[in-house]
């Protein structure tokens, strides 16, 4: 009994420390301005006043749409390049495949700051500043992690399945489409969600490439600079900005954590 209680206590403590400030901020977003900094974390007279103020002064709807379009775009773009590559590496193991896999792995540990300036210059040269193309396409640089995760899972699919399909006269493309992709679907969903969340939370690249369009993250940071004495509406806006991803995670928590659990990044 004692050990069991200690186990729960340790894990609950860790969860509280990690999530405490966020929970306090969410609770505070329902408080009235005068009670905002009271020691009692619970809103005694709950109000939606901060939310109406946030929606009135913060272009949340527009920013949510921008962020959703960008995140979906990056997710699709990364999967479109990473899925065939992972398939090619596994099915036709050759020097080219190994080179592509190595290039993808190495890109994961290169800090973005190392290629930020040229990416920025390329985007302005292409006239892509403040466009979705400018926000989405350069983020293909993050496709390495998608390739690694997909490759780990594809390796686990028995090659005999592909060989059987080939004997039946299927081309490699047909095998990919009709045999491999359906088997890979849970992984595709998990990797897709992961890329979506990562892009949703990206701050630096949208700030540089499309300050005029803006995303939830850059908008929040800007809103934070202009709000002074009463942080209530800011906390409400932060809560609203986090809600969609959090909801997505709650729905797909098992898949997202499993994608990592079985990724075998070790």
């Amino acid at each position: 009994m004692g050990r069991r209680a200690a186990w729960h206590a340790a894990l609950i403590a860790a969860s509280v420390v990690l999530l405490g400030p966020v929970v306090l901020a969410v609770l505070a977003s329902f408080k009235t301005p005068s009670s905002l900094f009271e020691a009692n974390p619970l809103p005694v007279h709950p109000t939606l006043g901060n939310y109406t103020a946030a929606v009135a002064r913060f272009p949340l709807g527009r920013l949510l749409v921008n962020t959703a379009v960008t995140s979906a775009g990056v997710m699709l773009a990364q999967l479109v390049v990473a899925v065939p590559a992972a398939y090619g590496v596994v099915r036709f193991s050759g020097r080219a495949g190994r080179l592509v896999l190595a290039a993808g792995s190495l890109s994961v540990v290169v800090p973005v700051q190392a290629y930020l300036v040229p990416q920025f210059l390329m985007v302005s040269e292409l006239g892509w500043q403040n466009t979705f193309a400018g926000m989405i396409v350069p983020q293909l640089s993050g496709a390495g992690i998608a390739l690694l995760l997909l490759h780990q899972h594809l390796r686990a699919i028995p090659p005999s399945l592909g060989e059987a399909a080939a004997l039946d006269g299927a081309s490699s493309l047909q095998t990919l489409w009709y045999v491999v992709l359906p088997l890979l679907r849970p992984t595709l969903v998990a990797v897709g969600i992961l890329v979506f969340i990562t892009t949703w939370n990206e701050y630096l690249w949208p700030l540089l490439s499309a300050p005029g369009l803006g995303t939830v993250q850059t908008g929040l940071a800007l809103f934070g600079n202009t709000e002074g004495a009463n942080p209530g509406p800011l906390l409400a806006a932060a809560t609203l900005a986090t809600l969609p991803v959090l909801a997505g995670y709650v729905v797909a928590a098992r898949r997202v954590t499993n994608a990592f659990m079985h990724a075998g990044l070790h």
């Binding site: 340790a10 400030p21 890109s107 300036v117 070790h266």
Partner: protein
Amino acid sequence: MRDRLYLVPFGAAMLIWVYGPLVATVVISFLTWDLSSGPQEFAGAANYRALLGDADFGTAAGQTVLYAAGLLVTSIVLPLYLAVALWRRPGRAAFVYRCLLFVPMVLAPVATAISWQFVLNPLVGILGFRNWLGDPSTALATIVVITSGKLIALNTLLLSAALTSVDGDTVEAARIDGASEGRITRRIVVPQVGRTLVLLGMLTVVYAGQWSFTNIAVLTQGGPSHSTDNVYYRLYTYGFQYFDLGGASAGSVLVVCALAIPLAVGAVVRRG
């Protein structure tokens, strides 16, 4: 031959958006290039000399090491403890905790930073009995703590994944032989995830600077008096506030060279 076509889109994406720009960074680091006034000319090693003579860059470099060291402590030791705790008692509760501990990973970093700002608000915040972010002696440590949430989440999950491969029979045999749980953990479980720990160390060193970036940008802008600056934030300042692209690129080259050292050491340790 045609089968290599599968590799082309990904390979092209990497060339165009990662490796091409990396080479361009090296080239630009030898140019004088002011974003606002244009024409670039060859500058030799002038950008590098300017950087190495810049006390602020030196401060930022030293503090980047402090960030990495701080994050290594919070996000290797604690996740190892949490992952072992979860591994020891699998089941529904462990699953719930694992999902809960992963939440910081999906929370918007700007929103998290704003939450901390609220809690740490000097005088009126719940932890505001001290001016954590306004005092140069505590500001960096505070940013480390705020940033570690994300790393703890990721590392706990990756360690949990590694622990699934620990051989249950060996553990059972040790238990029958009367080994204590603590001894089993130290002698059997932890050594099995050694490779993963090295990988996490490498990832932590790489991401320490990047993931602290948003917190620095939102909470302190490198201050007070440069005490929370690191090279990533400094390079951003050079490039996109002073518009000195040559200087920012030279700094990037130095950072990549410096990062290559711990990564190479890690790779050798993992292989050996």
